[in-house]
């Protein structure tokens, strides 16, 4: 039974990997929806000054992700990253 479940799950994943367009559209609709709903649903007690604005956490999430990705990769490329045998070399 477990094998059968595993197989059908594998097939489902295999088929859906090809439906990039569908999943991307669904994802964008989802993102849009969270911002639209945010116009009507606001925090009772905003923690930071601007988080009563709709879409604050959308901007925060996107900007934070890009900053983190850029800064960490940049640091790795400039001085943190070393070859894998770095510590084994004499």
């Amino acid at each position: 039974m477990e094998m059968k479940f595993e197989k059908s799950l594998a097939n489902w994943f295999r088929n859906n990997r090809e439906k990039t367009r569908f999943w991307l559209t669904a994802f964008y609709i989802f993102l849009g929806l969270t911002v639209v709903l945010n116009i009507f649903i606001r925090p009772y007690h905003p923690h930071f000054v601007y988080d009563y604005l709709p879409g604050f956490f959308a901007v925060f999430g996107l900007v934070a992700a890009i900053i983190l990705g850029r800064v960490s990769k940049g640091t790795a490329h400039t001085f943190l990253g070393k070859d894998e045998d770095y510590y084994e070399r004499d």
Binding site: E2, F57, G61, G69, Y87
Partner: protein, 592 residues
């Protein structure tokens, strides 16, 4: 004897199983039925445990308290027992009995620390954990594990020495070993020594480098155990002794950011997860540092949830490593339809750690962040929010994308994964989900009454919006974030600098402590020294000297050709030290 007064120490189950496993002779495999037993018994014991102080032992004029039971200890003990059970199910297929014995001793040490009412008892179990977990690294039997095990043990011995120095100096000033909360306004230098010792195990930066160094090199099943116990025991002792220390609040938030920063650039999946322990423990340390009832509750709840989902993530990563034979993202990819169940388990762990609604991270992480904001630490709350973004970016998206997607379906030959590994992952997944939708039993365990409701339309919407747009960020950056076959420098660079340097580095604190001992001899006299003599024999002479010599040799040989004789001798040496330690412990225990 101990059952009668309402307390039976859960460590005993694990010690007995470890001894039986080591003494086992014969070809039969039936010893493996013992593996789930101690976790199960410990869980039952803890469910029926009453609060109070038990198992006090007079030894050489000192009173050792092995059984201090209160709400704080119980919440950790609860999840320790659960994770020990899951961990041993996951390790069921492993033939090497030594690994199971080491894991069992390690868990015994963790329970000993939880229930220790005084610093001496704590120290004994603290060192037991450190020795036993070193074996979980060494027993991976790879050349790189040998070196990493040495560095791991050396660093923990150092941390242990800070603890020892602190507790002895504290005794000389206050005349007590009692392990109670320290008031931040009156903390003395010896309290800070103890705090430093704890900080080593809590992987507080910059003392954290042992963690991402050793965990990825431990055995597959050993890493699952290690991810749960060492750092969380440290979180427990910090919560007990050092809540409200401002420095911990700041360091905790720095840890959350530091961990996700490295997790974003690392290539080895187990190392990504190891850096993520630093990040997640940061949330707990920050909660303890802020020190309000709500943030301490948050830290405990987060420790509980974290042990289960981080174990799940390590199990998922372990399955990938077991099946594919490599943990490097550059060599993985396209695995989703090859091992879909592993993906499913991993992704449940990943959305739990990222704090998606309906999974366990959501009900605990929000508590700490909300608590920080309510205590008017807005910058700290914002920093933790940023780290939450990084968590989803690195563990949730980057790791799963590059391991399971990114390439066309993998053609790699995969080793079949044993059913028990799936079973353990299924159990952990279930717990993550149940805690997420029904957090009340967890909240009821917490040390302070909970007036926090994680679910409201706003919090759910906000979380989905935040994480959704992190997803968008990842989608835009996915080529930029591509893993590379590189390693990244961290603080372990400094303790690899060279044989001579590390020798000096390791020896100095030992000498300092030796000097302190003379001071204490003059102050407190012979009785303490008797006990210390025993401890020094076990831990200083055997462990430290052995390791110092060994490491120097190791490093001088360029990390490569480590002489077998040397390693073998040291491991025997340590094992002997462990056996003597347990023997003494058992003698003391049964004489009372």
């Amino acid at each position: 004897m101990n059952v009668i007064n309402g307390f039976f120490h859960p460590s005993i189950y694990f010690i007995v199983v470890a001894v039986v496993l080591l003494a086992w002779r014969g070809q039969s495999n039936s010893w493996r039925f013992l593996l789930p037993v101690p976790g199960l018994l410990a869980f039952i014991t803890i469910l029926s445990m009453e609060t109070g102080t038990f198992s006090q032992i007079s030894y050489l004029g000192l009173t050792l308290t092995l059984g201090r039971v209160d709400a704080l200890a119980i919440v950790f003990a609860h999840v320790f027992a659960l994770q020990a059970l899951i961990g041993f199910i996951y390790a069921w297929h492993v033939q090497d009995r030594a690994q199971h014995a080491a894991a069992s001793m390690y868990v015994a040490g963790a329970f000993g620390c939880l229930f220790a009412g005084d610093y001496l008892t704590l120290f004994i179990f603290w060192e037991l954990m450190s020795v036993a977990s070193t074996f979980l690294v060494w027993l991976n039997r790879q050349p790189e594990s040998t070196g990493a095990g040495f560095r791991y043990f050396l660093f923990h011995t150092l941390g242990g020495l800070f603890l020892l120095a602190g507790l002895l100096l504290r005794y000389s000033h206050l005349g007590t070993f009692a392990f109670t909360a320290v008031d931040p306004s009156t903390a003395a230098y010896y309290d800070y020594l103890i705090l430093t010792g704890f900080a080593v195990n809590a992987a507080v930066i910059p003392l954290h480098a042992w963690l991402p160094d050793a965990y990825p090199r431990a055995t597959i099943t050993g890493a699952v155990f290690m991810s749960a116990f060492t750092t969380k025991t440290a979180v427990y002792v910090l919560a007990r002794g050092f809540s409200g220390f401002e420095i911990l609040a700041v360091m905790g938030v720095l840890m959350t950011l530091y961990g996700v920063f490295y997790a974003t650039i690392e290539n080895n999946i187990r190392r990504i997860l190891a850096y993520h322990i630093v990040s997640q423990v940061g949330f707990m340390v920050a909660g303890i540092g802020i020190g309000t009832a709500m943030t301490i509750n948050g830290a405990c709840a987060h420790a509980y949830a974290h042990i289960v989902y981080k174990g799940l993530l390590f199990m998922g990563a372990g399955c990938v490593l077991y099946a594919a034979g490599t943990a490097k993202l550059t060599e993985l990819g396209g695995l989703i339809s090859r091992i879909p169940l592993v993906f499913l388990g991993y992704i449940i762990g990943a959305i739990s750690i990222s704090g998606f609604p309906a999974f366990s991270g959501f009900v605990s992480k929000t508590m700490t962040i909300e608590g920080a904001a309510e205590a008017h630490h807005y910058w700290l709350a914002l920093g933790m929010e940023f780290a939450a973004v990084g968590t989803f970016l690195s563990v949730g998206l980057k790791l799963s994308y590059f391991a399971f997607f990114a390439k066309p379906e993998s053609e790699k030959p995969l080793k079949p994964i044993p059913g028990n590994m799936y079973l353990a992952m299924g159990a952990a997944s279930l717990i993550c989900f149940v805690l997420g939708v029904y957090p009340k039993p967890l909240y009821d365990l917490l040390p302070y009454p909970v007036e926090f409701e994680p679910y409201s339309t706003w919090t759910v919407l906000m979380t989905l919006q935040l994480l959704g747009f992190v997803g968008l960020g990842f989608y835009l950056l996915r080529n930029k974030l591509k893993p590379e076959a590189k390693i990244n420098l961290d603080f372990d660079y400094f303790y690899r600098l060279g044989g001579a340097l590390s020798l000096v580095f390791a020896k100095k604190p030992v000498e300092v402590v030796d000097n302190w001992w003379s001071e204490i001899y003059n102050r407190v006299g012979l009785r303490v020294i008797m006990l210390l003599a025993w401890m020094s024999t076990v831990f200083d002479k055997a462990a430290i000297d052995g390791v110092v010599d060994g490491t120097a040799k190791n490093v001088q040989n360029g990390g490569g050709g480590l002489s077998n004789v040397q390693t073998g001798r040291l491991q025997d040496y340590l094992a002997l030290a462990l056996v003597i330690g347990i023997g003494v412990f058992a003698l003391v225990w049964f004489r009372t």
